[in-house]
């Protein structure tokens, strides 16, 4: 009997509340880590590409010009490590863990026991980080402001709090901007409803006064009036995908504290059985809430697109095409990467129509006054050897988003190719101030003025080989200038394939017929499949033969044509049925595109 009692006690101890707590915590944060490591790696890497943390006084000074700048600086420091999915996931997990511990500390002061309450802000933060436009700086500011409130609680009912508050509040505002208002609300709730000492009312009056007075004075003296949003500066309150969730996050703690201070649930005795039931329910709620939040905020398409972007930077063209196939509704960003990858793998004119094309809009991005377009679209110009436009697009992206490694690298490389070495040196000097691009910059800086270097460097010599010497006005549309590039460098294979692809995509068979003969200049051993299909289509449409001498139409293409023609014949005039039924077998042919696809349908 005694043994049974001991075993029972042992089991109770083993599965007791105190045992479950670290286990569930570890499990929870492991899940957070794995979530970011596996499912959000691309957008975190993308965030790293949008900024360049520099170890320089000048860079630091830039952050001192606005409320919240210090959090922004700390956030930028952390974001530089996002180039690695492991460090990115680790940093976000650690930030979440720190917030969790702070909330535990805060809620325990309110006798709110149990993990549940402290998991909620962590889940919200993790969900916010699921959005690629949510910056780590915002989490850092939230952490700082929560930390301030925790310190406020720790200093407890000491008189020095009366001195510390006015001394530290300006710092809090400078470091976190509008977050200080939320901290002010929490401190006021605590002072007015929880404190019992003599300082209760002095503090309850001083804190809201500080929360209003400090932003007003600091923003007008230190920040010249800020951006007009004195009390809400640095808070992401612009309409966007995550504004509501963000508001829930920042007002969650004040709401819990208010309810807790008014109803004092922690002081009520709960029977053990009910306690376990409540914990179980809380666990289920946490899991359910997590699933709901992550399902709502998981944007698979964006993650895939940013994954393609990452692959393009690493020249992992196979992976670009793999991800392209997984995107449910490809937009022109995804499509222009797909087509670039097709060219890079030598399949642009063989497999172009295996992807959902719609006119030439998916071949490149047309210029718009939009940083995202400039940031993503620059690569095509760089690859095709259109140096001046690659430079312009990279520069525009840098201006609109601030110095970032990708733009700076392209600026440096295009300048070196252009023999604009002093300017290249400047961009390289900026990159040298960062931790992770220093080495790349220094290897170029070392040999920048060495006359032999451009020929020895594969990247630079490739750019130089395609340099444009004649002057013409650039267009906002690459298509308008492909012929110029070809005139300048008739051997520019990418320009030729893009030009031919654009004609096919625009269903301009006459234009295609006029340029097909140049295929011989590029040394194709056999005609690319889509060229064969277009030649056959042109033959049937015009009755003219445009097959370049020395080439034949392959037997596979002829067989496919026969099958295609009989399929079309079998559906008669029922075009919509034909399009639907024939897609699986012939959707990858130019004939199908020519007959069934609306090439003027705008892409997203």
């Amino acid at each position: 009997m005694a043994i049974l009692i001991r075993v029972k006690n042992y089991m109770r101890k083993a599965f007791s509340y105190s045992f479950l707590r670290p286990v569930s915590g570890t499990l929870f944060f492991t899940c957070i880590f794995l979530y970011f490591f596996f499912f959000k790696r691309n957008h975190l890497a993308f965030q790293e590409q949008l900024q360049l943390f520099r170890f320089s006084n000048e860079y630091f000074r830039e952050f001192l010009s606005r409320p919240g700048g210090l959090s922004e600086y700390a956030g930028a420091f952390l974001t530089q490590f996002y180039f690695s999915p492991f460090t990115a996931a680790l940093i976000i997990t650690l930030l979440c863990a720190a917030i969790f511990l702070l909330f535990q500390k805060i809620f325990s002061a309110y006798s709110l026991k149990g993990h549940f309450w402290s998991y909620i802000p962590v889940i919200l933060i993790a969900a916010l980080h699921s959005d690629y436009s949510y910056s780590t700086s915002l989490t850092v500011a939230f952490l700082f402001s929560t930390m301030y409130f925790a310190l406020y609680l720790i200093t407890g009912e000491r008189k020095m709090q009366l001195c510390l508050l006015p001394l530290t509040w300006p710092l809090l505002y400078i470091a976190t901007g509008g977050y200080s208002l939320v901290t002010g609300i929490m401190c006021t709730i605590h002072a007015a409803l929880v404190r019992e000492d003599k300082l209760k009312w002095p503090v309850a009056i001083i804190v809201p006064a500080l929360a209003i007075f400090v932003p007003l004075t600091v923003s007008n003296t230190v920040f010249y009036g800020g951006d007009g949003r004195i009390f809400t500066s640095f808070l992401p309150l612009q309409p966007g995908t995550f504004r509501e969730l963000f508001l829930v996050l920042i007002f969650y703690a004040p709401a819990v504290l208010l309810v807790s201070a008014l109803f004092k649930p922690g002081e009520k005795t709960i029977p053990a059985g009910l306690k376990y039931a409540l914990n179980g329910a809380a666990l289920i709620l946490v899991v359910a809430f997590s699933v709901y939040v992550f399902r709502s905020f998981r944007d698979k398409n964006t993650e895939l697109l940013l994954g393609m972007d990452r692959d393009v930077q690493r020249s992992d063209w196979g992976s670009v095409l793999e991800k392209s196939g997984q995107i449910v509704e490809p937009n022109r960003m995804a499509l222009h990467y797909t087509n670039l990858a097709l060219f890079k793998t030598g399949h642009l004119c063989d497999r172009l129509f295996h992807y959902p094309q719609s006119g030439k809009a998916g071949l490149w991005l047309d210029w718009q006054q939009d940083w995202l377009i400039a940031f993503f679209g620059c690569g095509t110009y760089y690859q095709i050897g259109y140096n001046s436009e690659a430079y312009r697009w990279a520069y525009e992206a840098m201006v609109a988003k601030g110095p970032n490694p990708r733009s700076l690298k392209i600026l440096a490389l295009t300048c070196i190719a252009d023999n604009d070495l002093r300017l290249a040196e400047k961009y390289l000097n900026v990159l040298r101030e960062s931790a992770f691009y220093r080495e790349w910059a220094e290897q170029y800086l070392l040999k920048l003025y060495d006359p032999a270097f451009p020929d020895e460097d594969r990247e630079i010599s490739a750019r130089r080989a395609l340099l444009i010497r004649s002057s013409f006005i650039n267009s906002n549309n690459l298509g308008g200038r492909l012929q110029h590039l070809l005139r300048e460098h008739p051997d520019n294979r990418m320009a030729y394939e893009y030009f031919m692809a654009s004609l096919l995509l625009e269903k301009d068979l006459d234009g295609f017929a006029a340029s097909i003969d140049r295929v011989k200049d590029f040394g194709y051993k056999s005609l690319p499949v889509h060229f064969e299909e277009a030649i056959v289509a042109y033959r049937s449409y015009s009755g003219k033969e445009i097959l370049p001498s020395g080439y034949t139409i392959s037997q596979q293409t002829m067989n496919r044509l026969e099958a295609y023609a009989s399929a079309v014949y079998s559906y008669g005039t029922n075009n919509s049925a034909a399009a639907r039924k024939m897609y699986a077998k012939f959707g990858g042919t130019y004939w199908y595109y020519l007959k069934f696809t609306d090439h003027q349908k705008p892409l997203n």
């Binding site: 003296t221 525009e396 609109a400 400047k426 000097n429 006005i473």
Partner: protein, 495 residues
């Protein structure tokens, strides 16, 4: 007199010993550079502060020595004062108080930088760097816009004032607080910071005018003019501001030119700040020509400007501007008959930014191959015309790269101009002493506290204007007064 006690004596002895030991220690630490080797070339210093004429009130000309060494010593000596600066990394930072004393004591004479470097166990000495300190100080502040030398997109920009006597830079207006709009074309009346204007575009649009301690905002666009006022010039009387009104397009180019900004329409107008009206004259606003870059003569009796035969923008490289002058009667607001002063188009050249010296003897302008947006033209240089003799010269302040916007100090002894000579893109200011013989001396870049500052600074210094005192405005004050102000619409005076 009280007698010294034993303890006093001991204390004195300890103090004396301490002083002797300290001085021995210091002298032991001092560099013994007498046994040095001479180097046959000048030290590579950045920025280039050698052979220049500098104002006696300039901030320390901190520089970096680019020659590799373990230790650097610069002995600075002037007329009656000298000091020494040492550095372990090549950055030579002059202490402000000593620098000021050096310049003050060396007005009208030479200062010399003796540069030594320690390599291994040997000291090396470069030939001395000699600079001349002018007797005339420069206006204390320079006002400029900091922008990205970009194409279509912009981000942060602002108008700043920098005290030339030290390194203090303060924003006058920044677009962070005005909806990230475009802020441009600041202008002053006769180098006086109390009479200023600038434009804001897009959000909070209007021309902000600071005059007689009052801030106002006007909308200079009327139904009878091409656009709101663009390039400004304050009449010396302070009542009128001449503007160009332009329709501008920007094109981007495949080679050589990165971008070209071309007018498709361009006229001149005059804003009367007392009557809140704008007026013009067919002779300075004809449809057959592009008139732009107005600039008043110091006596206010003439308006200088540039004019080109109107052409479509596709012929951008054939649009060439001549230098024009038209008389102006301040009391009636009437213009005379325009005069072509320099027909640059005849030499396939184009003039922009004419600025007459305060004594009215010279006019400084920018000359490029075509167009008027010379900042994007590598070949663009500054030229000087002597208005008394008609002689045109190219001062030795130009470089192989762009020289463009320029202005005079209030006494005409200093020129400040923008140049892209450092890297071909990011515009910096250069100052040049203009002596009584009409000679512009070797220019030097605006000094910065950190001599490496320009190596990584990714903004351009745009439109340098010298003013004699600080502008008593800041972004908060401007936004508070004009942020919610609806700009006062000006009327067009047809007669």
């Amino acid at each position: 007199m009280p007698r010294k006690t034993e303890s006093d004596k001991y204390l004195l002895l300890i103090l004396r010993t301490g002083v002797i030991m300290l001085s021995l220690f210091i002298s032991a630490c001092k560099d013994d550079m007498s046994d040095h080797k001479l180097i046959g070339r000048h030290a590579q210093i950045f920025p280039d502060y050698s052979g220049i004429t500098l104002p006696p009130n300039i901030a320390p000309l901190n520089f970096r020595i680019r020659d590799e060494a373990e230790r650097y010593i610069v002995k600075v000596s002037g007329n009656s004062y000298s000091f020494e600066v040492t550095s372990g990394n090549g950055k030579i930072i002059f202490p402000g108080s000593r620098w000021r004393r050096l310049l003050e004591s060396s007005r009208g004479s030479e200062i010399v930088f003796d540069i030594y470097m320690l390599k291994g166990e040997d000291y090396f000495r470069f030939p001395p760097v000699r600079n001349f300190v002018a007797a005339e100080p420069i206006d204390r502040y320079v006002v400029y816009r900091l922008i990205d030398p970009g194409f279509e997109l912009w981000n942060k920009m602002g108008i700043y004032q920098r005290c030339i006597e030290d390194f203090r830079e303060e924003p006058v207006m920044i677009n962070e607080i005005s909806g990230e709009n475009c802020i441009n074309c600041h202008s002053f009346c006769r180098n006086d910071s109390r009479t200023m204007m600038f434009h804001m575009r897009q959000k909070n649009a209007g021309t902000v005018i600071w005059k007689d301690g009052v801030l106002s905002k006007v909308n200079t666009k009327t139904d009878s003019t091409i656009s709101a006022g663009v390039y400004p010039s304050w009449h010396p009387g302070g009542r009128y501001i001449a503007y160009s009104v332009n329709s501008i397009i920007q094109t981007f180019h495949s080679a050589r030119l990165r971008t070209e900004v071309t007018d498709t329409l361009s006229d001149l107008i005059v804003y009367d700040s007392e009557k809140n009206v704008v007026f013009t004259d067919p002779r300075i606003s004809s449809s057959g020509s592009f008139e732009t870059f107005p600039s008043w003569s110091p006596d206010g009796k003439y308006l200088w400007y540039c004019s080109a035969l109107a052409r479509p923008y596709t012929q951008f490289n054939k649009i060439r501007y001549d230098l024009m002058r038209v008389s102006f009667d301040e009391s009636t607001g009437c213009f005379g008959i325009p005069d072509t002063i320099i027909r640059a188009s005849a030499q396939d050249k184009s003039i922009s930014f004419p600025r007459v010296s305060p004594d009215g003897k010279y006019i400084l302008y920018t000359l490029s191959d075509f167009g008027n947006f010379s900042i994007w033209h590598k070949e663009s240089d500054l030229y000087l015309a002597n208005l008394e003799t008609g002689e045109i010269s190219k001062p030795e302040i130009n470089s192989d790269d762009t020289e463009s916007y320029h202005s005079w100090s209030s006494d005409g002894k200093w020129i400040v101009f923008s140049s892209r000579r450092d890297d071909g893109l990011f515009t910096r200011f250069y100052f040049s002493y203009f002596d009584t013989n009409g000679k512009a001396h070797k220019p030097f870049v605006l000094p910065q506290k950190d001599p490496d500052f320009y190596l990584t600074f990714l903004k351009s210094y745009n439109v340098p204007e010298l003013v004699t005192s600080p502008i008593e405005l800041n972004p908060g004050k401007i936004m508070k007064s004009t942020g919610k102000m609806v700009p006062e619409k000006v009327n067009f005076l047809s007669e």
